[in-house]
Amino acid sequence: MEGRPREEQELVLRAQRGDERAYEELVRAHQEIAFRVAYLITRNAADAEEASQDGFVKAWRALGRFRTAEPLRPWLLRIVANESRNRRRSAGRREHLAIRAAASPGEAAPSPEEAAVGSDERRRLLAALDELPDQARLVLACRYLLGLSEDETASALGVRRGTVKSRSARALARLREGYGPRA
């Protein structure tokens, strides 16, 4: 990740020396994105919380091996995503994501009819995304719903950057089939 604040590097160095407060600051900075990645994988908020907690604790224990020149976020996401996969596997269930499309702030105010159509299309798009196989769903969710970079997505999914590109292309094609043309 480019432009990483110097402050984060200093926090990492302090945490590597055993400063728990410094690590807790790092956790606060990354817990939301980590929780959301965990939620996409586990599809369950309670499991995602546990996976995030355990992932951050494991990361704390492994922090001595983290190279401070590297970006922290992909490294953390990889560990939390790994915990999430383990947790989901042991739970052995498949739940639908409970996330829903919210009203889109920041866009020019649509007319009530436009808003209704837009909202309905988002719901359909999310439903089509949710029906995709896990690999396709996760790569698109990481890239487009969470806004992760290709490198971060690769870390979270435990694959190469090139795999993220090819999976994304295939997943988009599949999603296009499932989503279908506009009514």
């Binding site: 807790e24 919380e49 996969r85 996330i99």
Partner: protein, 231 residues
């Protein structure tokens, strides 16, 4: 229809992010590391005492068995040579071939999986950890069938451990020999053997410590449907 743009434009109502309370010291105690070390130390002392008594060795050795693996303590090691960890692991196979051979999903390090090798039911891969090669081998066989064999001399320690809730052994120090089917015996580095995720797993590395090997074991994940394997 620009799906990428439409996906990016969706504002989602995510569940609220909980405030994570790590309580690092308390939670670290609940993770397997500390109980493991205490248990390992106690068992090491017990085993060391037991092995010091020649007539008790037979009884102890019968316990040193994991599904698909036997560990045999001998006075004289068989002839074996030092070879790279990646030698004689068998041909490279795809993830699907490896899974078919194991009849089970693979356990993989949290990295892009390195090439998978298959030799007589044993799936192996070598990955880099802190710049050092580590060999991970996996097998899935029924009770009473031994595929891998470890032969240890009197100077090696064999310590029963619990790894991720499964039974295991840590073999270190002295000289020990690894016998993989279809390959000549090889002098082995420190080894963690354990059962987890429905498989018998083996981690080997010259620089591995028990604590670090257990940490690596905890980071393994079951492979996704098409991630592992190449070629």
């Amino acid at each position: 229809m620009d799906l990428e743009r439409e996906l990016r434009a969706i504002e989602l109502a995510w569940p609220d992010t909980p405030e994570l309370r790590l309580e690092l010291a308390a939670r670290a105690r609940r993770l397997p590391r500390r109980p493991l070390l205490v248990a390992a130390a106690l068992l090491l002392a017990a085993l060391a005492a037991a092995f010091a008594v020649p007539q008790s060795r037979g009884a102890i050795l019968r316990l040193l068995h994991l599904r698909g693996v036997t560990i045999e303590r001998v006075a004289q090691l068989p002839a074996a040579e030092e070879r790279p960890l990646g030698a004689d692991l068998g041909p490279i196979v795809t993830g699907a071939q490896a899974r078919k051979a194991l009849r089970h999903a693979l356990s993989l390090p949290p990295l892009e999986p390195p090439p998978l090798h298959l030799e007589q039911g044993v799936v192996s891969l070598v990955f880099a950890d802190r710049g050092e090669p580590v060999l991970l081998s996996e097998l899935n066989v029924g009770e009473g069938v031994a595929i891998l064999k470890k032969v240890v001399s009197g100077s090696s320690s064999v310590v029963p451990v619990q790894v991720e809730g499964g039974t295991g052994f840590w073999i270190a120090g002295g000289e020990h020999v690894y016998v993989l089917p279809g390959a000549p015996p090889r002098l082995a580095g420190n080894v963690l053997l354990w059962q987890a995720h429905g498989l018998t797993l083996r981690l080997e590395g010259r620089g591995l410590t028990l604590v670090h090997a257990v940490e690596l074991a905890g980071l393994l994940r079951t492979g996704d449907a098409d991630t592992p394997g190449r070629g």
